[in-house]
């Protein structure tokens, strides 16, 4: 049994297996399948200042070894979260991290400040990479000065651990990572979804109501691994890796590329118990290969 502890900025988590925002609801959806408290952390679904209805149906399309989604940040808003959801999920003995979204910098600050007051929540993940909303989201994440501005503004308003989730839809991911590190991020989450599209040749219509949407799943793993590797060797803060992780072997690849922790997204839809299987598989890998700490394999790619 290796030591699985890892750090996200000042926050220590008991193991590196977290869930990716938007794929794990608020945790309660998975209670029947696994003991949520065994996870390193859960990223709750993206929250905005006001309630949002998200995009019209249809919102998903299956693609080769992946899926497109166009949920568009449907959520009941931060106040509802504070009043109704936070009390319910506080029971979980794991780090609960809020994925913070906004159409404007003010909205990001509003959500972050309200989350700061919640004792049990020691970190937020700034999502500047949602491809499925017209305002905010990826607009911040694909324009470097905007990414810096929103990170700085939230950094000033929020004193606990600040994770920043970047968009892979950029020419040079390292530029963005360095810029948000400089702007005060405690860690970098990589990757959000790739912007994609699917068409039904029979009906000649797009499969998503929004025409384009976000690609996730194993199809994007090579791109995600590449970005984690590029960023991890460039920044000093920890990198949280995700994108197509389906099993422990995939997770190990992300650690070797430089991720200090990982998030499991789409895989939860296919196997609702997958996070615990990944956790156990990581343990087994470390034991079988004679490692006593997770940290021994972080960035340990042999090149």
């Amino acid at each position: 049994m290796a030591n699985l502890k890892t750090n996200i900025g000042k926050l220590e988590i008991k193991n590196p297996v977290m869930t990716a925002s938007g794929t794990f609801g608020f945790g309660t959806e998975y209670e029947d399948f696994i003991d949520i408290s065994r996870l390193g952390g859960i990223l709750v679904k993206g929250i905005t200042g006001a309630e949002r209805q998200g995009n019209p149906y249809p919102r998903m399309a299956e693609t080769p070894s992946g899926m497109l989604n166009a949920v568009g940040l449907q959520n009941k808003g931060i106040d509802y979260f504070v009043e109704h959801i936070y009390p319910e999920i506080s029971k979980f003995d794991t780090e609960i991290i809020v994925n913070v979204n906004g159409g404007t910098i003010e909205e990001y600050i509003d959500v972050a400040s309200k989350v700061e007051k919640l004792n049990k929540i020691k970190a937020i993940e700034l999502n500047i990479s949602c491809p499925n909303v017209k305002q905010g989201g990826m607009v911040f994440g694909t324009h470097c000065p905007s990414a810096v501005a929103v990170t700085q503004a939230v950094r000033n308003a929020y004193s606990k651990t600040l994770m920043v989730k970047l968009s892979p839809n950029v020419t040079n991911i390292v530029d963005f990572a360095l810029a948000v590190e400089e702007a005060g991020a405690d860690s970098i989450s990589l990757i959000n979804t790739l912007l994609g599209m699917a068409i039904d040749a029979k009906t000649r219509k797009p499969l998503l109501s929004t025409i384009t949407g976000g690609l996730s799943g194993p199809a994007v793993k090579p791109v995600a691994l590449r970005m984690v590797w590029q960023v991890a060797k460039s920044v000093k803060i920890p990198v949280i890796g995700m994108g197509g992780i389906m099993n422990a072997t995939d997770a190990i690849e992300f650690f070797l590329a430089g991720a200090s922790a990982i998030q499991v997204g789409t895989a939860n839809f296919i196997n609702p118990a997958v996070t615990i299987e990944i956790l156990e598989g990581i343990n087994e890998y470390l034991d079988n290969n004679g490692f006593s700490c997770l940290s021994e394999i972080v960035g340990a790619l042999d090149i």
């Binding site: 938007g22 794929t23 794990f24 609801g25 959806e29 998975y30 029947d32 399948f33 679904k45 209805q53 998200g54 149906y57 249809p58 919102r59 998903m60 299956e62 693609t63 080769p64 070894s65 992946g66 899926m67 989604n69 949920v71 449907q74 799943g217 194993p218 939860n268 839809f269 296919i270 196997n271 609702p272 118990a273």
Partner: protein, 265 residues
Amino acid sequence: MNNIKAKKRVEDFTIIENKRLNKEFFILKLKSAGELPVILPGQFAEVRIDDNPTTFLRRPISIYNVDYSGNTIELLIKIAGDGTKKLSELKDGGILNIVYPLGNSFSKPAGTKVLLIGGGTGVAPMLILGKYMKANWGIEPLFLLGYRSDKLIIEKERFEALGKVYITTEDGSDGYKGFVTQHPILNEPESNFDIIYTCGPEIMMKAIAKKAKELNSACEVSLENLMGCGIGACLCCIVDTKDKGNVNTCTEGPVFNSERLKWQI
């Protein structure tokens, strides 16, 4: 029994029979190694189709029948694309991984005059509902089942064993010729029901909801929205409701009172 919802689980079932009914439909009979949880009528399963790049996600399929003594369930499936094609090729003795029981269920009616309308694969939840209402609510189901032609009629005897069965076919090869909504039972002076339950193509369900309104009957429809997870996590299966806006079909449904839906009918 109606309100006891079992814990959801992931389980490997053994395929004990793969019965082809006709060109389009087949039934998978699956056995659990342990004891089955309570499965309510209208609930569904998310079925895994292994190792296939074009069926990355699970496929939602209604539970057609449950046998607690034998610990078996049955799924009635129509070949619609790659995934259901793969399922149709499964062999006895094979393993099928499913997540179940998912979703809500049909509700107990105020009275005993009920009509169960199924179209195509939509007959699946009607069988289990008919069986359930007879056993648990003491209500004799009345079925109205619509098909394109007599060749596609599904296990009529099993429905007849539970209650009276009316058939419509589009080509008139069996029963009444036309659509279910044109059937006399819905178009006579004495046509009125405490509730109409229905599952089938959306266009059919919309027509039935409209008819139910005219008849002053309650109406519950079971939706077949595209699903990413089946357990309320992905928010991809939403339907717009009058009371709560977008809600998940997989957890607040698949069964909805038609009055809740912002359907243009």
